[in-house]
């Protein structure tokens, strides 16, 4: 029987080697960043032995780079570090909020953007915000780096597009154009410590006249994966983001949702509230976009 083991590679190549070695020998290896989901899953869901590959010592998973054209966020950076970054917040206030919403201050001390994405929960807060900001996954692979959009990266409940032997190195974005900003809102029954019942990430671009020229809308916890809502985008583009446009976008989100009823909320409730969240998030993004012109 395989025993538990722990590896903490310091380079991308070392990490790939450890993963390849396990793959070749038919043993299980699992990548860990902050470990806040992994530790709970190991305790409650699947405690079977494996080698835990800690990627926090690799430079590329820890690099945060807010450049003139591109923004790069290493997969393993703790939420508390990202939330403290003023340049990142200036570019993607909604994305940073979505990170900050994950768990408590204690969880923020460990939980990473990469982990939240790879965990691929339908309710993962950052995923809607990543999709709204057209995030691109940078994947370390035997043949080198490969890239993939966030929406194609998440393929099902708890499932991502990583192939055996690969791991997520970081996520990159185009730096938002002038007049662009984002927002993320989720609904939870308490004020903290809950998993999203529904979530909405919105990015909008406004021209000088206040007309919306570009938008992206993604909703979470209302389908097996976070989903983009093109109909909501259509409702926003060309409008001045007035009440009617927002209402139409919200309705589009409700229509696009295919939620389930569970311990966190009924399907009907989720469908209604995701529309409300889209409306409210769009209004916040619009205010921010005006300030960003």
């Amino acid at each position: 029987m395989q025993a538990f083991a722990y590896a903490a590679p310091e380079t991308v190549q070392q990490a790939l080697d450890v993963l390849a070695e396990h793959q070749g020998a038919g043993r299980r290896a699992q990548v860990m960043a902050g470990g806040t989901d992994l530790m709970v899953q190991m305790r409650l869901v699947d405690g079977s032995p494996r080698t835990i590959v800690d990627i926090k010592k690799i430079a590329e998973t820890n690099r945060l780079d807010v450049g003139a054209k591109e923004v790069y966020i290493g997969a393993a950076i703790a939420g508390a570090v990202l939330s403290a970054s003023k340049p990142l917040k200036a570019c993607f206030p909604g994305l940073v909020e979505s990170i900050d919403l994950i768990g408590s201050a204690q969880i923020q001390g460990r939980a990473s953007l990469g982990g939240n994405l790879c965990n691929a929960s339908p309710a993962g807060d950052t995923i809607s915000a990543l999709v709204a900001n057209a995030g691109v996954c940078v994947i370390a692979s035997k043949g080198g780096l490969r890239e993939m959009s966030v929406e194609s990266f998440v393929v099902g409940v708890g499932k991502n597009a990583l192939k055996p032997g690969e791991f997520l190195l970081g996520i990159k974005f185009q730096r938002p154009a002038k007049g662009t900003s984002d927002a993320y809102l989720r609904f939870i029954p308490r004020t903290e410590m809950d998993i999203a019942v529904a979530g909405a990430g919105v990015s909008v671009t406004l021209d000088a006249s206040g007309t919306c020229t570009a938008a992206r809308v993604a909703i979470g916890a209302v389908a097996p994966t976070v989903i983009p809502v093109p109909a909501a985008v259509d409702a926003l583009i060309g409008s001045k983001l007035d009440a009617a446009a927002l209402d139409k976008a919200g309705k589009a989100c409700s229509a696009a949702a295919s939620p389930i009823s569970d311990k966190r909320g009924t399907a009907e409730y989720r469908r209604t509230v995701v529309g409300v969240l889209c409306r409210r998030a769009t209004a916040i993004a619009a205010e921010r976009a005006k300030e960003n012109r």
Binding site: M39, I52, A78, G103, Q106, I107, G109, R110
Partner: protein, 160 residues
Amino acid sequence: MSKTRVETKINGEQMEFLCEPQQSMLDVLRDTLGLTGTKEGCATGDCGACSVMLDGRLICSCLMLAVESNGRQLTTIEGISRGETLHPIQQKFLQHAALQCGICTPGFVVAAKALLDENPNPTEEEIRYHLAGNLCRCTGYDKIIRAVQDAAQTLRGEAS
């Protein structure tokens, strides 16, 4: 099962221990090192009773592998006060009757210290959100919030 040797600094003291790769920091603190001041309320990161600081950052020790502490520095409740004097947060918890049963108190003290280290003058709302990961079922939080506000004032050198 083969054990891993880990060297770490806990409350300023160099320590070494053997652990299994999947063991949590919390289990090692309590069962191996005898540091039972850090409490277990849930083991899923939802209650904050096991709060410690890792290189100055607040975390749940139940969600960290013990092997990860190799070469790092940990502060537990046992390291909050040094020598003969309580830390002002501890003094204010006593003065304000901010504990009833006391099981959550070590976690709250550590979490409050992490907050005041970073933000010496937090608003009530900031305190409440910062401490949202620490469950208390006895006090309704009122006296805990007041104790932290008062401790912040003392630490800023203002008379309370």
